[in-house]
């Protein structure tokens, strides 16, 4: 089973982006991926995301995701060139679907795992996002790395009951396997969200006065570069789409 360890330290990060830039990249990147006119275009865009991930400090996560993505691309090419009939349809549909989802998840994972919670809150305050939206988003960011911890425990528990989440069990008992992960995960999430909120509320999270932040947040030249790069990708895919539509 693949282990999706998301790094939380940014000690070795070369690239430290402002959370506002990250939010922008996430939106623009996803739209650009969705509209990507060709496989090559998409692969180049994904390569940029991989570079971004490595520079931002989420190395292990990015590399693992990139390997899976590469596998999907290869499978897709084999599917289109060397297979015929139903099998081709199944393989191609499957890989196209995964190929669209995967880079989005990768981009999201990179950006979330390299963002400090307090920086994110400060940045969202700057763009005057209402508190009612910031707090749930922050709890979400905070919960992501915990999913991994929870998953490890659940995986252990499943193995001891002989219903472990292996490849075969996913094929023979797909619903049971998903349920086994999902049910305890939900229960844990509910409990964690509740306790986390209680702990935050008793430390004045809901103070209406503007929050201060111990870390500096401001735009740097790298923010501008990344923003421009992703905007160009988006513009490119829209342009090709429009031209294709007209011609």
């Amino acid at each position: 089973m693949m282990e999706l360890q998301i790094q939380t330290r940014d000690m070795f990060a070369f690239l430290h982006l402002d959370p506002r830039t990250k939010l922008y990249l996430l939106i623009v990147g996803n739209v650009a991926l969705f509209l990507a006119p060709s496989l090559l275009y998409e692969v180049v865009l994904v390569a940029c995301i991989v570079i971004l991930g490595v520079l931002a400090g989420a190395k292990r996560f990015t590399v693992k995701m990139a390997i899976v993505y590469a596998g999907m691309v290869v499978l897709h090419m084999i599917g289109t060139c060397h297979l015929v009939g139903t099998l081709q349809v199944v393989i191609v549909t499957f890989t196209v679907f995964i190929r669209k989802i995967f880079p989005c998840a990768m981009l999201g994972g990179i950006l979330v795992s390299t963002t400090r919670v307090n920086e994110f809150m400060a940045a969202m305050n700057r763009i005057h996002m209402p508190k009612a939206m910031i707090i749930p988003m922050t709890v979400m960011i905070r919960y992501f790395p915990m999913v991994h911890e929870d998953y490890c425990y659940i995986n252990d528990a499943m193995c001891m009951r002989d219903v472990g989440p292996t490849f075969t069990s996913l094929l023979t008992h797909p619903i049971r396997t998903v349920e086994c992960i999902y049910v305890p995960m939900m229960m844990s999430a509910l409990k964690v969200a509740d306790e986390l909120s209680a702990a935050a509320v008793t430390r004045g999270l809901e103070n209406p006065k503007p929050r201060t932040c111990i870390a500096e947040i401001h735009f740097q030249i790298t923010d501008v570069l990344c923003g421009v790069l992703f905007t160009l990708f988006l513009a490119g895919s829209i342009w090709v789409k429009l031209k294709g539509g007209a011609g």
Binding site: T8, R9, R116, V117, N118, M121, A122, T138, R142, P145, M146, E149, D150, Y153, I154, D156, A157, C159, M160, R161, D162, V163, R176, E179, C180, V183, P184, M187, S188, K191, V192, E195, L196, S197, A198, A199, A200, V201, T202, R203, G204, L205, E206, N207, P208, K209, P210, R211, T212, C213, I214, A215
Partner: protein, 497 residues
């Protein structure tokens, strides 16, 4: 000063336990007050009234008034209360809002709009005074439970509130961390802070607490001075459902002397975690019916050892045999079962009965019924496991292990956050399993539980098996040695002064 005036409270909805009836209580400034009593007696609820979580976060029916420094808590917003009252909760894992220590300590100050310079000054001061300079700039995922608790404390301390509330702060801590928690509380007391602690494990507070408030069914049933409290007899204390006051007062029960032939044989076991050697050359034999307590400090490899025994951790060298047959990881997964500290992770189905049959191709319904009856959960068979209490969930997990005919059982901290009676119930459960001929391992930091339940102790530390002995009265001093070390060190220091 904290003052409760005729306070009654009932939780809204499904959470019916833990309400309060007509509480009148005054806590003077600078006092340290311990709230104790059985699970569900309302001690946590009382702390929630002071930090404003009731009625703001936990709605319900509230009458009467709670005052902190002459101000009615219910009339001021919860972020204002945060300046006066700081709260530390039970689970260190879920009270972190950030993922790195520095931001976490700053969290409360950021919320209260402290200017940056002041924040930096406060963080530095906090870290020095609490002695946690070694925790600067760490990710919370690499901290131990005790370290997390310290950072959670620091985050409150930085705001310097007058009142500290602690809700079962020791339940996830090991012996050394509890001792450090005690030192922190001592520091706060010296600074003249008011401290209110709801707790089951009370031995570490016996010299700190000025008053002990004993609660029963949502009312304050008695208030003891420290002297009165310490002079309670064991019998009275057990009747009140309270844990031991002094570790040296706990005595082991009488153990069955005849031992069977060893059935589990571990030879030259070395455990690795990502190439790092965790535990080397462990040799161990265990017979059916033995209840083996595993003790050791954080990071001694207790968890890795139990996961290896279950077949979950595969990075090891050496052999593990059962009835002289070598067992690989898969064989061990079939033969063994771990009851986790957070048992919620291992319950999957929508009723207790379905849970017991879960994942089995041909469940033996008679065996299922028998197991449920034996563990006293038959009457709950149509209930959802999540509606049960912690102890009942634990028994559901044990029922599963009985139905799957597991022969090696491992319990990970089965008594964290349990009162005296629930602890005794767990130890009886272990005895039942032992009579069935299971080999049982218990990883725990709970001295009182070890002495009531276990027949043998193995001590892991510094990467190897330090001690292995039967828990009979001749050997009791060895267990004392391990557990009372931190306590005794302190009393030596006190005498020296």
């Amino acid at each position: 000063m904290i003052h409760f005036e005729k306070v009654s409270f009932t939780y809204q909805g499904v959470m019916l336990k833990g309400g309060l009836h007509n509480i009148d209580l005054t806590i003077q400034k600078g006092e340290c007050v311990l709230l104790c009593g059985r699970s569900g007696c309302g001690k946590t609820t009382l702390t929630r009234l002071v930090n404003g979580l009731i009625p703001y976060f936990y709605p319900g029916e509230l009458t009467g008034a709670t005052y902190v420094d002459e101000k009615n808590i219910q009339t001021i917003p919860i972020y204002e209360i945060a300046k006066r009252v700081g709260s530390v909760f039970q689970n260190p894992r879920t009270q972190f809002f950030n993922v790195d220590t520095d931001s976490e300590i700053a969290f409360g100050m950021e919320n209260l709009s402290y200017p940056k310079e002041k924040m930096k000054r406060c963080i530095k001061k906090t870290m020095e005074e609490l002695g946690i300079n070694n925790l600067i700039g760490r990710s919370i995922f690499e901290l131990s439970g005790g370290e997390k608790q310290k950072v959670a404390f620091a985050s409150i301390y930085a705001l310097s509130p007058d009142v500290y509330l602690l809700d079962e702060p020791s339940s996830n801590l090991d012996m050394d961390a509890i001792e450090e928690l005690r030192c922190t509380l001592e520091l706060l007391k010296k600074q003249g802070k008011t401290i209110l602690i709801a707790e089951h494990r009370i031995y570490y507070l016996r010299e700190l607490a000025d008053h002990i408030v004993y609660m029963e069914n949502g009312t304050v049933s008695r208030i003891f001075s420290t002297q009165q409290f310490l002079s309670l007899s064991d019998h009275q204390r057990h009747k009140m459902g309270l844990r031991a006051l002094k570790l040296s007062d706990v005595h082991p029960g009488i153990l069955p002397s005849e031992k069977q032939r060893p059935i589990l044989d571990i030879k030259d076991l070395s455990l690795y975690y990502k190439k790092k050697l965790i535990l080397s050359n462990l040799k161990l034999k265990a017979a059916p019916g033995e209840i083996v307590g595993i003790i050791g400090h954080n990071g001694a490899g207790k968890t890795t050892f139990s996961r290896t025994l279950c077949g979950l951790h595969r990075n090891y060298t050496g052999t593990i045999s059962w009835k002289d047959k070598k067992q690989n990881a898969k064989d061990r997964l079939k033969r063994s079962y771990m009851v986790m500290q957070d048992v919620n992770y291992q319950l999957f189905a929508e009723t207790v009965e379905k849970e017991c049959c879960f994942g089995l191709k041909h469940p033996d319904l008679d065996a299922v019924k028998q197991a449920m009856e034996r563990l006293g959960i038959y009457e709950y068979r149509t209930d959802h496991p999540n509606t049960l209490s912690g102890g009942q969930k634990q028994r559901v997990a044990v029922a599963v292990s009985m139905i799957c005919e597991k022969e090696i059982l491992i319990f990970d901290e089965p008594t964290s956050g349990l009162d005296y009676e629930s602890m005794i119930r767990v130890s009886k459960l272990l005895k039942t399993l032992s009579e069935m001929g299971k080999v049982i391992f218990v990883v725990t930091h709970d001295y009182e539980f070890l002495t009531t339940a276990c027949t043998r102790i193995i001590h892991l530390d510094d990467g190897r098996l330090q001690e292995d002995y039967d828990l009979i009265s001749d050997n009791l001093h060895r267990l004392h040695e391990f557990f009372l070390r931190s306590e005794r060190r302190r009393s030596f220091e006190a005498n020296g002064e």
